[in-house]
Symmetry: C2
Subunit: 478 residues, 2 copies
C-alpha cells in the first residue's frame, strides 16, 4: 500500500462530514456494522477508549460517594407505565420480549431504554428510614432504544452507558447531587477528552421524559453542530410518588424522597472523533488514547536499529501506553500514515543516523510538528508534550466554538446566521414552546440549553419579539 | 437490635442449606429479588465483589493477550440457527424480541444466551489472511437464559459474565488458548477466591452445545454438592465452517480457523458464599472482600477513642480496603455481629484500656481467634494475617473436598456413598452415555468431569462393569 492510500480511502472532511465520520469509524477499526440492524460491534481499539473513559469517570464517581450496582435488563410493561410522562417519552422506542423459554409471556417485558422505573421499585423495597438515605447508586450497562436512523456511537439502537440513580432526604441535597454529577461530566469532557463544553439547563421541550429539570453539557463538533455529551436530571418527587417510595423522616412522618439520575454513554467516542479528527484520520486526546506513543524504527534491518527502538520502548512502557511497530512487510512511510490515521498522539522515529547522534525524531499528531530530541531527555519531553497536546487540542476546539457562535436578535438574523455558518446561536427566548417549535421548523436548529453563564444580549424574544429574560444557545444537533 | 439477632435471622446452615444460602444473599445485602421474575438486582456489596473479580481476571486476560470488545445483545433467529448442535442446546431457553418501535419485527431477535453465533458473523467479515490471526477477543456483558427454577447468582435468568471468543490458525494454538484460559480460571478460583478446584474435561453429554471439547473447573460447596466455576471450550472448525469464516493461509490456500470460547460469571459470587460461609454469615476471602478490615471503637464517647480509631483507619486506608464503624445508635456487640455476618476478614477493636496499653484487639473472621497486637506492629500484622486467612480458608475447603470424596467400584457402592454423605465420587466409566444417564437417574449425581489427574482406581465401569479406562468425578450439582 502506498504512503497516502489511507488518506485517499477517507472521504474529505469538508466534502462530506457524515461520510468522513463513518469512514473513520470503520477504517480506524473503532467499530463495525453488524447483521443486527442498527447495532454495532465495538472493536478492541474503540472499546479500549471506552474502558479508559469508564476508568476515569468511575474513579470520580466513587470519590464522590457513588456505589455500583446492577439491575435487570427487562422491565415488565406495567412497571414502565407507572410514570405518565416517562412512558410517553420512552414507550415508542422500546423493544419488547413477548416469548421466552418456548412460551408466550403473560406480560410483555421491555428491554430497558433507561432504568428509572425498575430501580424505583427496588428503592421502595429497600428504603424505610431517613437513616438509609441517600441511595447513590450507578450501573454500567447496555440499553436499547429503537431508533429509526442510526449512526455508530452517536445513535445506535443498543449502546453502552452508565446510569446513576439517587434518592435523597431533601430537595437541596438532590439538586446538589444533580449538579455535582454535571461537574464530573465537565471534568471528563474537558480534562480527559479535551472537549470544551457549555453547561446549562434544557428547556421544557427538551428535558428528559418525567424529569423536573435536565442539566446538560453541550459540545460543538468540527462541522459546527452540537452534540449532547452528558445529562443530569432532577426529578423532584415525580417518580418517588408514582412508585410510592417513602421513608420515615426525622420527625417521624412518612415522606417521599427527592430523586436524580444522570448518564454518559459510548456517544463520547463519537464526540472524540468529530471534535478532534481531520483528513488524516482520528486525533486522540492523549489521556484517553489506547496508544499514546508509537515507536517506528527507520531502516529496521540496519545494525542496532531494532535494538535501540526496543530500548526506547522498554524505557517508556511503564509510564505510557506505548506500541512499537516492528512490521517488516511495510515501509516507514506506510506506518507513519497508519498511526496518524489511528490518531496516536506522539510518534517516535529512530533510524541509524539518529542513533549516531544520540537523538530521535518526535512527531506530534495534533500539529504534525517534528522535533529532534536527545534520547536522555526523551522521557521528560514526552511527559510535557502529552500535556501540551491535550491543552492545544482543547484550545483548538474552544476557539472553533467561539468563532462559530453568533448572536441573533430577530428571526431573520437567526436564519441568516444558521445558513451562513452552521454553529451555535445565542438568542433571547420568551420561554414559550411555540417559539421554540417555530425556530426548529424554520431552521432545524433546536435549543441546546439555557447556559449557566447568561449574558446580557437583549430583552426580547428572538422569535416573537415579546419580553424575554432567558438567553438560549441554539444549534443543529446529532 | 440485640447482639445475636442477625444470627437468629439466618437459617442454620445444617438444617436447610438452601434457605441459609438465600438468607445470606438477602441479609448481607449482596442482592435482592426483583419484579422481573427470575432476575436479581445486585446491590453495592455484591457488585463490589464482582468488580474485584473482574479486575483480577481482566488483568490476567490482558497479560495473556486478550482484548476487550462489545457485540450486540440481540441475535437474529436465522443467525442462531446456523450451527445445529448450538441451536438445539440454546433455543429452548432464549427470550425473543418480536416487537420494537411499535412495530412487529419481520424476524425474531433473541437476547444472547451466549455470543458464538454473532461473533462468528463478525469474524467472517474481519478475517482475510493468516496475518490477521489470532483474534483473541472478550466481552464483559449480560446474557439471558430462560431457566425454570432460579436462584440468586447460581441460576439467574439474566446474569453477568465474560465470554471470550478466539480463532486461530492451527488446532494446536487453539487448544493451547483453551487450556491457558482454564489455568487463568484456576488462578481466579484458587489464588483470589480461596476455592480449590478440580480441572478436567466434560463428557460428551455435559459439554457445551456445539463444542468439540469442554474443559471445566469444578468446586465443592459446604454441603458436598458441586459447582461448575468456569468452562473453556474448544470448537475445532464446527462454527467456522457453519459460519464460513475463512482465511488465506501461508500456502495461499483458503482454510477455516480453529475456535475457542470461555467464560466465568457472577455465579462465582454464589461459590464464595457456599464454599466459605457459616452460621454467622458470609466469610469473604481477603483478596475479594470489598472491606478487608473493619475498625470498631469500644466506648466511643470516652476521651481519645474515636480519634485513635480514626488514626488507625488513616494509617491503613491506603494499603487495605478499610471501614470504620462510628455509628453511635448501636452497641459494639451489635457491630461485631454485623461485620461478622458481612464476612469482613479482619476486625480491629480499640477501647480506652487498649489505648493505655498501646495495643488493639484483632479478630479474624475465619477462626474468630483474637489477638492483642501492639499498635506499631499492626500494619505488618494485618498484611500477614490477610495472607494467612486466605491460606487457611483455602486449606479448609481443600480438606472438605478430600474428606467428602470417595471412590466406588460398582453401582451399589456408588449409591451408598451418595446417600451416606453427599460429596464427590471417583469412579471408572466406560464412556457410554447410557451408563452416565443411568447413574444420573439412580442417584441424581452427574458426571462433573474427567479430571486431568487420572488415578488408577480400577479398570471396569462402575455402572455396566465393562472395560473402562476413564476415571470420572461424579457429584450432585447446583
Amino acid at each position: 500500500m502506498k504512503k497516502d492510500e489511507f488518506v485517499k480511502e477517507i472521504t474529505n472532511i469538508d466534502d462530506d462530514f457524515a461520510r468522513w465520520y463513518t469512514d473513520i469509524v470503520i477504517k480506524t477499526e473503532l467499530a463495525d456494522y453488524t447483521d443486527t440492524k442498527g447495532c454495532i460491534a465495538i472493536k478492541p481499539y474503540g472499546y479500549s477508549i471506552w474502558e479508559n473513559i469508564q476508568n476515569y469517570a468511575d474513579n470520580l464517581f466513587k470519590k464522590s460517594g457513588v456505589k455500583n450496582t446492577y439491575f435487570p435488563l427487562l422491565i415488565p410493561e406495567s412497571m414502565l407505565q407507572k410514570e405518565k410522562d416517562h412512558v410517553e417519552g420512552f414507550a415508542p422506542e422500546v423493544a419488547w420480549v413477548t416469548e421466552a423459554g418456548e412460551e408466550k409471556l403473560e406480560e410483555r417485558l421491555c428491554i430497558r431504554p433507561t432504568s428509572e422505573t425498575i430501580i424505583m421499585t427496588m428503592y421502595k423495597k429497600w428504603l424505610s428510614s431517613w437513616r438509609d438515605l441517600p441511595f447513590v447508586y450507578n450501573q454500567w450497562c447496555n440499553v436499547l432504544r429503537w431508533e429509526k436512523e442510526t449512526r455508530p456511537f452517536l445513535r445506535s439502537r443498543e449502546f453502552l452507558w452508565q446510569e446513576g440513580h439517587t434518592i435523597h432526604e431533601t430537595k437541596e441535597e438532590a439538586i446538589e447531587r444533580t449538579l455535582k454529577m454535571l461537574e464530573i461530566y465537565v471534568d471528563v469532557a474537558e480534562n480527559f477528552l479535551a472537549i470544551p463544553v457549555i453547561k446549562g439547563i434544557k428547556t421544557e421541550t427538551e428535558k428528559f421524559a418525567g424529569a423536573d429539570r435536565t442539566y446538560t453539557i453541550e459540545a460543538m463538533m468540527y462541522d459546527g453542530k452540537a452534540l449532547q455529551l452528558g445529562t443530569s436530571h432532577y426529578f423532584g418527587q415525580n417518580f418517588t410518588k408514582a412508585f410510592d417510595v417513602k421513608f420515615q423522616d426525622r420527625d417521624g412522618k412518612q415522606k417521599y424522597p427527592y430523586q436524580t439520575s444522570w448518564g454518559i454513554s459510548t456517544r463520547m467516542i463519537g464526540a472524540i472523533i468529530m471534535a478532534h479528527g481531520d483528513n488524516r484520520g482520528l486525533k486522540l486526546p492523549p489521556k484517553v488514547a489506547p496508544i499514546q506513543v508509537v515507536i517506528v524504527p527507520i531502516a529496521i534491518h540496519k545494525d542496532g536499529v531494532k535494538e535501540k527502538a526496543e530500548e526506547i520502548y522498554n524505557s517508556l512502557k511503564n509510564k505510557y501506553r506505548v506500541e512499537i511497530d516492528l512490521k517488516d512487510q511495510v515501509s516507514p512511510g506506510y506506518k507513519f500514515n497508519y498511526w496518524e490515521m489511528k490518531g496516536v498522539p506522539i510518534r517516535i522515529e529512530i533510524g541509524p543516523r539518529d542513533i549516531e547522534n544520540g537523538v530521535c525524531v518526535v512527531v506530534r499528531r495534533d500539529t504534525l510538528e517534528k522535533s529532534i530530541i536527545k534520547l536522555e531527555e526523551l522521557e521528560n519531553y514526552i511527559d510535557k508534550l502529552l500535556n501540551n497536546i491535550h491543552e492545544n487540542m482543547f484550545e483548538k476546539c474552544k476557539k472553533r466554538m467561539v468563532q462559530k457562535t453568533t448572536t441573533a436578535s430577530n428571526l431573520e438574523e437567526f436564519q441568516n446566521n444558521m445558513n451562513e455558518e452552521q454553529g451555535f446561536i445565542k438568542a433571547m427566548w420568551c420561554g414559550s414552546s411555540e417559539c421554540e417549535a417555530k425556530i426548529k421548523e424554520l431552521t432545524t436548529a433546536k435549543s441546546r440549553c439555557m447556559p449557566f453563564e447568561q449574558e446580557n444580549i437583549g430583552d426580547v424574544c428572538v422569535c416573537c419579539g415579546k419580553k424575554a429574560n432567558k438567553m438560549v444557545i441554539w444549534g443543529k444537533q446529532y
